[in-house]
Subunit: 140 residues, 2 copies
DNA sequence: GAATATTTGAGAATCATTCTAAAGTAGCTT
DNA sequence: AAGCTACTTTAGAATGATTCTCAAATATTC
């Protein structure tokens, strides 16, 4: 078996972020890694339980916060709902939120990204991170 | 005295949004109207108390939510802090957040606005509202 | 001014999230 | 592989933000 199984990559990711590798952190990161959607903390917790190993809800919250602070996962804070999470391994993107279905679509606009930098610069700032969310309805 | 005092405009604004005009709603809207910054609900409550009339915290939350739902005030939901509010009477704008000082700067980029519409359209959506926040540090 | 539908207030309740202290474990060191 | 030590986890308590409950107060309608 080659040395780069998905599991090993997960372990490395955790270790590289400066945290010890534990059963629980592995489980939580794996849930996010496998997720097609953007689950919130209780949902991550539920999936971790369901799939393999037991993790407490407190650890789920703590670990997600740690990983987010390390930059390994990203917080998705939508209007009026609990914080959701996604891995940071995908290239940067922003979000379209379908107000009817709740569906979240990812998109990237290099033009917008560049304009954002310009705007920030004009105000004497440089961007550390940003949030761009388009709350939409299906076009008629 | 002309019929358009600030107070009368406030009353109209509330009435036009389909709500009855009450002492409390007036007070809350006035606080926001007078605010130079972007206060959260407890802060609005405090200022209402301080300035003139008594309003309960529950009513403050309820009224801000009502006015936001009616579109008369706008929620400003920043990363990791309680929801803040601003009146919707100012022209639309987005926000730069100074991560060090917490200062919030307003800006508007018609180019970005247009690109957002294009992106939405490309995905078959039309924008109902959006959030764009640039979390920044002062440029060195 | 009386009738009716809304609105308010105080505190309880809820929801999301963080904290606490005790018990468990990762990863060096030998 | 056993010991050591610092880092982690856990369950439940605690906190913080916000919403709910329903009786009392009040805005509009007649």
């Amino acid at each position: 078996m080659a040395p780069n199984t998905a599991d090993q990559i997960i372990d490395e990711t955790i270790r590289n972020s400066g945290l010890r590798v534990t059963r629980q952190r592995r489980a939580i990161y794996r849930v996010l890694s496998d997720a097609e959607d953007h689950p919130d903390a209780p949902e991550v917790h539920k999936r971790a339980q369901a799939s393999d190993l037991k993790v407490s809800l407190a650890t789920t919250y703590r670990t997600l916060a740690e990983l987010a602070d390390k930059g390994v996962v990203t917080r998705l804070t939508l209007e009026g709902e609990p914080t959701r999470f996604e891995t940071s391994d995908a290239p940067h993107h922003d979000h379209i939120i379908d107000l009817e279905s709740g569906e979240v679509v990812e998109f990237l606009s290099p033009e917008i990204e560049e304009l954002q930098r310009q705007v920030a610069r004009q105000h004497g700032y440089e961007i550390v991170f940003h949030r761009l969310q388009l709350y939409c309805r299906k076009k008629t």
